[in-house]
């Protein structure tokens, strides 16, 4: 299932967060969002928005999972925030419990998933965040599987309605 990527331009971290929230609101249990982008591009900001969209309480801070690798947040379904930044690739992902996260009952947001064998991700939405001058970002979403296709279709419909 492949289709043209959807690109959204945001002008501030708040707008990036709002896009994340829209994704979080529509994501179903089992959804995997793979996030790509340089250090400081706004991946964690995007996930902060996803958390709110999934109903994670405001006072539950979504902090960087760089050291902890996997942070879990309570929403209408669990949100797993994963950061593979410190993994070299090809490592033993069972050790950090990645299987439970990717094939569990929650929504997984995976930063630095390029360090992972793409087959492990399965049906997922790839979100590429690129700096576009100052606090502007170009966010390109591409669909890899039927679940992700439905998610993007829902999102596009709501953006058109606005």
């Amino acid at each position: 299932m492949s289709r043209a990527p959807v690109t959204v331009a945001t002008r501030s971290p708040d707008e990036t967060r709002a896009l994340g929230r829209a994704i979080g609101r529509r994501a179903r249990p089992g959804a995997i969002i793979a996030l790509y982008g340089d250090l400081g591009s706004g991946k964690t900001v995007f996930v902060q928005g996803m958390a709110r969209g999934l109903g994670v309480p405001e006072d539950c801070y979504v902090t960087s999972p760089t050291y902890t690798l996997i942070n879990e947040y309570p929403g209408r379904c669990p949100l797993y925030h994963v950061d593979l930044y410190r993994l070299a690739g090809g490592g033993d992902f069972e050790e950090i419990g990645l299987d439970d996260v990717l094939y569990g009952d929650g929504v997984a947001a995976v930063e630095w998933s390029e360090r992972l064998d793409p087959d492990l991700l399965g049906d997922h939405l790839a979100v590429h965040i690129a700096a576009a001058g100052g606090s502007r970002r170009e966010i390109r979403m591409s669909v890899h599987g039927p679940g992700a296709a439905i998610l993007v279709k829902d999102l596009e419909r709501s953006m058109k309605e606005q």
Binding site: L39, G40, S64, T66, Y67, I70, E72, L87, G91, E95
Partner: protein, 348 residues
């Protein structure tokens, strides 16, 4: 029980010798501490060399290395303390937060050892251990005091009102201070861990030449945010990629100053707001020279006394774990065999 019996039991508790075990992240550490305060030995086997090529901790390697190191490190701690296992009265071990695979190595080892030796043991919170490290210096702060815990994985401010009584006043909303150092180090193409490298480089630059943003958030609260600063440094590096070499020291100094400004301001304000005359800084970032210098200078101006543990207790170590574990055992707590590790939150 007779009065004399109770006294001797109390005496035994006071002289209790605790073996501490710590494997929550990079270091495999073991220590022997008497009466919650006298460090008889403290051994830290760092994994930094193994991690360096990857620019960070690799958990799979970390767990495997912990498994290899846990017995030799513990044996060395006992032998440096001139004790054998039979002379240990209790065990304290880090239960969380940290990498689950890494935590499990120390935790399972401690649990098994306590069972075999039939002695009490206590799982402790790594962050409480760090806060407690300041009590292990020659000159511990009087209670109450405001404490900043700043490391690779954590940045929070506490009010400490007793040896096992801590109240969180604020914490980071995104990145930890030490993590920001590591990531800026990575952006500049320097090594891991980033704290020492950036600190040394900053010493050759001007702290005011490049002004990076400071996130104070709500001035009356004690939360932190370092992710915007990280992004600003990255953008600066992208913009000046052609003559980056000439700007490296100023970037490091400007970045470090932005972090230190916020840490110092929030910590002093926390002390003032909660009626503390004393301030402590613990965790790996406490080793930062610029932070120490600014705290000493500005603390003196404000009449606040500043306490920082000895350098070898700033990073992860097992002496702080043994010491806080002693106090929990002393206060009548002890872990059971069904206890498990936790990665992020201390369980209620």
């Amino acid at each position: 029980m007779t009065g004399a019996g109770r006294r001797s039991q109390t005496q035994e508790m006071v002289n209790m010798i605790i073996l501490g075990i710590e494997t929550s992240c990079d270091e495999t550490a073991a220590a022997v501490v008497a009466d919650g305060r006298r460090i008889l030995s403290s051994v830290v086997s760092s994994q930094i060399d193994i991690h360096h090529p990857y620019g960070g901790v690799v958990p799979e390697l970390a767990s495997r290395k912990h498994i290899e190191a846990i017995v030799p490190v513990t044996t060395e701690a006992l032998s440096k303390a001139n004790l054998d296992l039979g002379q240990i009265d209790g065990i304290a071990v880090t239960q969380g937060p940290g990498l689950v695979g890494a935590l499990l190595v120390g935790f399972s080892f401690a649990k098994g050892l306590a069972r075999v030796l039939d002695i009490p043991w206590q799982g402790v919170n790594h962050l409480e251990g760090h806060l407690h490290s300041v009590f292990l210096g020659d000159d511990p702060p009087p209670i109450p005091f405001a404490a900043l815990l700043a490391s690779g994985g954590h940045t929070s401010i506490y009010r400490v009102s007793g040896v096992t009584r801590f109240e969180v006043l604020g914490q980071t909303r995104d990145d930890a201070a030490g993590e920001a150092f590591d990531k800026v180090s990575k952006m500049l193409g320097l090594g891991y861990p980033g704290g020492g490298v950036i600190g040394r480089l900053a010493g050759r630059g001007g702290p005011e030449r490049i002004r990076f943003p400071r996130a104070y958030l709500d001035r009356d609260r004690f939360d932190f945010s370092f992710s915007g600063l990280k992004t600003a440094v990255n953008q600066y590096i992208q913009r000046h990629s052609e003559d980056l070499a000439d700007r490296m020291a100023d970037i490091a100094a400007g970045f470090q100053e932005a972090v230190v400004d916020v840490l110092v301001e929030k910590l002093f304000r926390a002390a003032e707001t909660t009626g503390c005359r004393h301030i402590a800084v613990v965790g790996g970032v406490a080793a930062n020279g610029r932070l120490r210098e600014r705290l000493a200078r500005e603390g003196a101006l404000k009449g606040l006394s500043v306490y920082i543990p000895p350098l070898d207790l700033c990073g992860d170590n097992a002496a702080m774990i043994a010491a806080i574990g002693y106090h929990h055992l002393w206060e009548g707590r002890a872990s059971g065999m069904s206890e498990d590790v936790y990665s992020r939150y201390k369980r209620p």
